[in-house]
Symmetry: C2
Subunit: 212 residues, 2 copies
């Protein structure tokens, strides 16, 4: 039912938004894409805050008007009952575990560091940036240990967990993290990029994201 | 099946571990509690890293030996099919959205700031601490907007979403966040604390967590 008339509110430089676009493309699910100018306040208007009180993209609006915020919760919802989500309850919990890890140890770490660095927001917090880069490198080493003996994060096939962790994981070199230290992660990135329907993302930050 | 012989690896000062203990208590599910001395390296032994490559607690070990890391993924798993998890798919996705918000905007923000402040790790990163406190206050204001017209985060009853967001949300005063600015959040904290089976947590940090 949610597959008709879905609207995705997103912004091209968001890897959180990219996750959902890739999953919907790989599932062949049509949707209307609405760009939100997040660097010009577009996600903090009264209208948008009614869709997501946290004022972040992406938000998926279902055909009945229900709004679902949070990229990984959207990923979960759109992959329910599809080949992109494990069937077994314990495997679903392990996939959710990777989604949580991503929102805790990858997105606010590698993602934030990259955002600061590429948009000029690192000035005045060089120490904090350095600590986030170290934390991001540790997260990739944990991933590397897991992937050393596996092709995919959960079970023996590509799933929503791979999409979610790849999103801000694969931009690690943008903050100076050398993937040579995590060869299993580097090989897994290549496997993700070889999946049918994959396309590159996120888009570069535009001039509206720059400070200074 | 997972309700027999479950082992929860946790540490009392962890509010992530507390979430799972409260949910299991409220569901009346028995489990064996195993304390992991995380400040003495207990979550980074080769044996523990096989349970969770990220080296964090809590981890739930099911009776077949399957290990589930990440507090919110464990919460999801143990509340499946119970009164603590919404039944409707869209409501489940909204609950998951709050779990993601918590792991992204509450736990690494209020939780980390509190950890630094209470254990002496704030020295040398006073600016970073101040920014996290500001970010935590913003997160609570977003919550306050949502709770201004609602008693619970999802639908009209207490659920796993309330447990998850309460865990590191309610310790905000420990980092100097004044709850008078978010009265709907303060009232919601009191509602959570009035639920049958609720108990206070997390435990204070022990001497092993302090740096000198």
């Amino acid at each position: 039912m949610y597959r008709q008339g879905m609207k995705l509110y997103t912004h091209a430089p968001s890897a959180n938004g990219w996750k959902v676009e890739v999953a919907l493309a790989q599932l062949g699910v049509p949707f209307e894409r609405i760009d939100v100018a997040i660097f010009r306040g577009g996600s903090h208007t009264p209208e948008f805050l009614r869709k997501n009180p946290a004022g972040s993209v992406p938000v998926l609006e279902l055909d009945d008007g229900t709004c679902l915020p949070e990229s990984n919760a959207i990923l979960w919802h759109v992959t329910r009952g599809t080949w992109l989500q494990p069937e077994d309850a314990a495997a679903q919990a392990r996939a959710l575990g990777w989604l949580m890890f991503e929102q805790n140890q990858i997105e606010p770490v590698i993602g934030s560091a990259r955002y600061w660095k590429l948009t000029g927001r690192d000035r005045g917090r060089e120490d904090e940036l350095r600590r986030r880069v170290e934390q991001g490198a540790r997260a990739l080493r944990a991933l590397d240990g897991h992937l050393a003996s596996r092709d995919w994060l959960v079970g023996d096939r590509y799933s929503l967990a791979d999409i979610a962790v790849y999103a801000y994981g694969h931009v690690a070199p943008d903050v100076g993290i050398d993937l040579a230290a995590t060869p299993a992660v580097a090989r897994w990135f290549a496997r993700v990029e070889a999946q049918p329907g994959w396309f590159p993302g996120p888009a570069p930050y535009g001039a509206d994201a720059m400070i200074g």
